[in-house]
Each structure stands twice: as structure tokens, then as C-alpha cells.
Symmetry: C2
Subunit: 238 residues, 2 copies
């Protein structure tokens, strides 16, 4: 594997790009990567940065190279729901629409490979496989969204929190396929609450209970170690 990664015709940026194989760029030929490479810019943003504003025409798209991005929906009265988390090497943005009704915000320090709407459209025209990749990611996100609907609609508070920890454990490390035993909760308690449809107090109580039960440990409110993965899965309701 990775035989072609040192091919000199692949742009230097893309050679080292973590999104190269898992993300949408894996659909591109070296010459196409070169072309796209000329139109991309790397960006590193601090936590809290607004990446896409809901309802506002977006300036472009991006691949996530590292970090976690929150997708947020807002109600007129200020209530908010986090409708998804995105990790490397996900594609970020809403194709075929002027604007999206979900906002995107960096939950951690996030590194991005950004490009314009027209650059993407140009690449799609030249490489139909690219639209296929985008399509597959959309379907994967749809599956994820429906999974989470199950969590939001049917699970109890403690099941929700356990499910959230499993979600993080499965995604924070883009390289490994399975669960990470130790990882950082990059979200604040308020964000977790908005993701789970709970209050910060209930989230905190549920985490404390998991710790008291010996299922996990938590250091400085951020670093989680899973001590008993079976117990955690059971606590998540499956």
C-alpha cells in the first residue's frame, strides 16, 4: 500500500496530506491532483472558529486534515442542536446549494485544505469519480444522522452519554479502524449536551456514574480512558 505516495507527479502538499486516501481526493489522478493543488490553501484555525454560517452563502469547501468540526443547527429562540461531528478526512461543505442551513464550527484546533466552489465544480466535471466519492460520503453521513436519531429519540440519558463516548473512540484517530482506548473529549460539556439533547448537569452526572462504575476514567475533565469496553457498549444500549 501507499506505493504511489512518493510519486513526484503528486503535489507535495497532497503527498503528505492525511486526507489523501480516505477522503475525496483519493478519486483523483496525479495530474488532477496537481491541478487541484494549485487552487487549494491550507488553513489552521483555533477552536471556536466559525467555518460555515447557517443560511449564508458559503465561500467554498474544505477537506478536514485534522481536528473535529461541529455541525450546528439553531432555533429562532436560541436552542441549538449539534447534528453531526466531522473528523479527518471528511469533506466539509454542502455541494449543489448556495448555502446550508447547518453551521460548522471548529471544536478543536482544525487544519483544513480549502478550495473554492468553482474549483470543486471544475474537478467534478473532469473526474466523475469525484462526484461518486461525494455521493458516498453523503450516504455515510445520512447513515450516521439516522443512527443518531435513534440515540436522540429512544435512548436514556446515560445510554446517550455512553453512545457519545463510543462515537468519539471510533473516530478521533482517523488511522485505526476500531476504538481508541484513550482519547480526549474535545467538546465542552455544553457541546456534548447540545449533541445529546440533554443538560450539562445530566451529562456530568452520567459521566461521573460511568467513572464510579469503573467503566472509564477521566483526567482533568478531558482525557477519557475506556477500562471496560463491553460495559460501555452495554451502557450504550447495544
Amino acid at each position: 500500500m501507499r506505493l504511489d505516495i512518493h510519486n513526484s507527479t503528486v503535489p507535495a502538499l497532497c503527498q503528505a496530506c492525511e486526507a489523501r486516501h480516505g477522503g475525496i481526493c483519493g478519486a483523483l489522478e496525479p495530474t488532477q491532483l496537481q491541478q487541484l493543488g494549485r487552487q487549494t490553501a491550507r488553513r489552521e484555525v483555533p477552536p471556536g472558529t466559525q467555518l460555515i454560517a447557517a443560511g449564508v452563502p458559503a465561500d467554498g469547501y474544505a477537506n478536514i486534515l485534522s481536528g473535529v468540526v461541529k455541525l450546528i443547527k439553531l432555533m429562532p429562540d436560541g436552542r441549538q442542536q449539534i447534528v453531526g461531528l466531522q473528523f479527518a478526512p471528511d469533506f466539509l461543505g454542502r455541494p449543489f446549494a448556495e448555502s446550508s442551513d447547518v453551521g460548522a464550527e471548529a471544536a478543536s484546533t482544525v487544519r483544513l485544505c480549502t478550495f473554492s466552489r468553482s474549483a470543486l465544480e471544475q474537478m467534478v466535471r473532469q473526474a466523475p469519480a469525484l462526484e461518486h466519492r461525494l455521493h458516498r460520503q453523503a450516504l455515510r453521513e445520512l447513515d450516521d444522522a439516522r443512527d443518531w436519531m435513534m440515540t436522540l429519540g429512544q435512548k436514556s440519558a446515560s445510554e446517550k452519554v455512553a453512545s457519545f463516548l463510543l462515537l468519539l473512540a471510533a473516530h478521533v484517530d482517523p488511522l485505526t479502524g476500531g476504538y481508541s482506548a484513550t482519547f480526549d473529549i474535545v467538546l465542552r460539556r455544553a457541546d456534548i449536551a447540545d449533541f445529546l439533547g440533554l443538560t450539562i448537569e445530566t451529562v456530568s452526572r452520567s459521566l461521573s456514574r460511568l467513572r464510579r462504575d469503573g467503566t472509564i476514567t477521566i483526567e482533568r475533565s478531558r482525557t477519557v480512558t475506556i477500562l471496560d469496553i463491553d460495559a460501555l457498549e452495554a451502557a450504550a444500549g447495544r
Copy 2:
């Protein structure tokens, strides 16, 4: 509009097909429709028919010609969440996957235009615009799913029920773009409860309150008339 609908090169089936323009087949040329037409079968199924079983390799795909289809996710302990409703002229099925982890069940009498996996794949190869249509529908469903996550996670019971009525009013009539003033709730109370993450009793109480407030009327527990659309939207939390 509809100038080409009587073109004799379009298969008779498709000429009258309600899914023709709004659905994915709108992406096809008459000759392609002819070709697909030879590989499709119409089917009419009664309420309750299992159309797609979760986790089981699906035999094929379909367009919904009329009726309502429930998308259902199940937990090991039997709890279930309806993760979406599909109306004419939606495409039904999960492209690019052997099986889906959501099941599909007819909520009303449903008329379908069915075709095999290979027929679809063949058409996609010949008409890239078809994949584009499928992609757009996936993105629309993703938007819908995220909208509903907001409802599930943040709204109160009565807001959920009002949101559900607005959803139905906007979709039961595939022809009009806006809300229908009068429509049938095709789902049973138990289904509504599974869609909203509530119990049947709470759904019933919320409906009764909307009726008592003069916002809607309900005949024989099934036919709803919206008397005050503004009040209903306000009750839905927007």
C-alpha cells in the same frame, strides 16, 4: 411545461408515472426511459408490507408512485425509531451497499415502480446525470434527517407533534409545493410516537390540546384540518 409527456418514444408506463419529473427518472432521455421501462415492474402493496428488511441484502430499488413509506431503525431490545418518511416521487433503497441498516415499511397503500440493482447500475453507467439525481436526493434526505434531529433533541412533546403535522401537511400532496389544509394522518399513534420519541399517550394528549386550542380539527382520529396555520407553526417552535 410537460410538453414532452406525450412523446410516443416515452414508455407508456412512464408517460403516466407521477415520479417522472420530480424523481430520478427526470434525468433520463426517452431512449433511456424505454430501456429502463423494460426492466421495471409496478407493484401495489397494502399498509404494513415490509419493503426493505434492515441488514438483509436488498433485492432491488424502487420509485414511490404514491403513498407513504416509513424508514425504521430497531434496537436489540425492541425499541424502534422511525428515522424518516418517504413520499412520492422519492427513490427508495440504499445505493452502493449490499444492505441497509434501516428497514422500510409501507405506512399506507403504496404503489411502487421497482427495478433490480443491476438495472440501476446499468442506467447509472449510461447516464451520469442519474447518479447526480441520486446524490441530490441523498443530500435532501440528509437535510431532512438533521432537521428532525433538531426536533428530537430540542423540542418539547407538543412542539414535536405540531412539527409532525406540518411535515405531513407539506408532503402528503406531491403536487403542491406548500401546505395542505386537510390531509390524512396515515400513521397510527404508535408510529407517530416512534417517529417523535414519545409515547402514544403523550402524542394523543398533544393532539387533543391542539384541537382544544382551535388550531386543528381531527375527524375519526385520522383526518386533520389545519384551522390556524400560524398558530401551528408557533406551536412547532418556529
